[in-house]
């Protein structure tokens, strides 16, 4: 897991949050985890395929998710319904999409899969044995958003170049 993959996601997350939520996120200290793991209640998972492959997970607490969804929809939401879930998933999709554009500028071509929303705590995603780098972002009064990036260069199987 190269640290160079982190910067585009952090930059995209900051840009998208600024534009969508009107708040400038404050970036916390980068952390490493041996695997993709989240203890947050609401998680958006986006698959990345291309020159780099893996998963990116955006984790946030239930109350932060509701506050963000309310800000995105433009009305106070008290129940995490389908519209709130869709808004949160779209936030992950926009960050991932913008990150893919920034990666492309570095010559790393990749595509993203539609976001999946996972609710529940202590989620460990063990389909990939790739360490994860974690960027915590503070979103002012809205709460915090944790960006977990677990990517690796595309593996060439059987010694064949793709």
């Amino acid at each position: 897991m190269k640290v160079q993959y982190v910067a585009p996601f952090a930059e995209a997350a900051i840009n998208v949050c600024q534009m969508v939520l009107g708040t400038t996120p404050e970036r916390g200290q980068l952390a490493a985890r041996p695997q993709l793991f989240t203890s947050e209640q609401v998680n958006i998972v986006c698959g990345i395929v291309g020159n780099v492959e893996g998963l990116v997970l955006y984790g946030l607490s239930g109350s932060t998710a509701l506050r963000i969804a309310s800000a995105m929809v433009g009305q106070k939401m008290v129940i995490f319904d389908q519209l709130a879930a869709s808004a949160i998933a779209e936030l992950g999709n926009m960050i991932s999409g913008n990150s893919a554009s920034l990666l492309a500028q570095q010559g790393i071509k990749c595509d993203i899969t539609p976001p999946t929303l996972i609710r529940g705590t202590k989620v460990k995603i063990s389909t990939l044995d790739i360490p994860a780098l974690v960027v915590p972002l503070k979103l002012g009064d809205l709460g915090s958003l944790e960006v977990n990036i677990s990517l690796q260069e595309r593996q060439h199987h059987n010694g064949l170049a793709a």
Binding site: V16, V73, S86, E90, N93, G97, S101
Partner: protein
């Protein structure tokens, strides 16, 4: 008469946002597709004046849907609205037949301006 727009996006939130912006600016959203396949089917049945099309969608992606719609109607007016704004993606969409490209997140004024251009072109 209001111009009739078809909105294709897998995210309920994005369809609701685009619909609110468009209907608030004098357009009529005649249909909402949740994937590329639905967009092709709804295009045929609704014959809208313009289409906003996401790229990353399940079942059929937006670029494939644009190509299919252009096979059916070479004059179709379709604009991509996607979070994937890299040059390759824009080129693929334009080659498939899309007339314009709007990157998410967007400002409502940009949506209105681009959809106005799309249907006026």
């Amino acid at each position: 008469m209001s111009k009739r727009i078809l909105v294709a996006d897998d995210a309920l939130f994005m369809r609701a946002t685009l619909k609110a912006i468009l209907t608030g600016n004098g357009f009529e959203v005649v249909g909402e597709a949740t994937n590329g396949q639905e967009a092709v089917e709804l295009y045929q049945s609704l014959k809208p004046d313009g289409v906003t099309m996401d790229i990353t969608m399940p079942v059929m992606d937006g670029i494939s849907a644009v190509a299919k719609i252009k096979e059916i109607d070479p004059n179709a007016r379709i604009m991509m609205v996607s979070a994937m704004g890299q040059k390759d993606m824009v080129l693929q969409a334009i080659q498939a037949g899309a007339r314009d490209f709007l990157i998410k997140p967007f400002q409502p004024d940009n949506v209105v301006e681009k959809v106005n251009n799309l249907i006026a072109a």
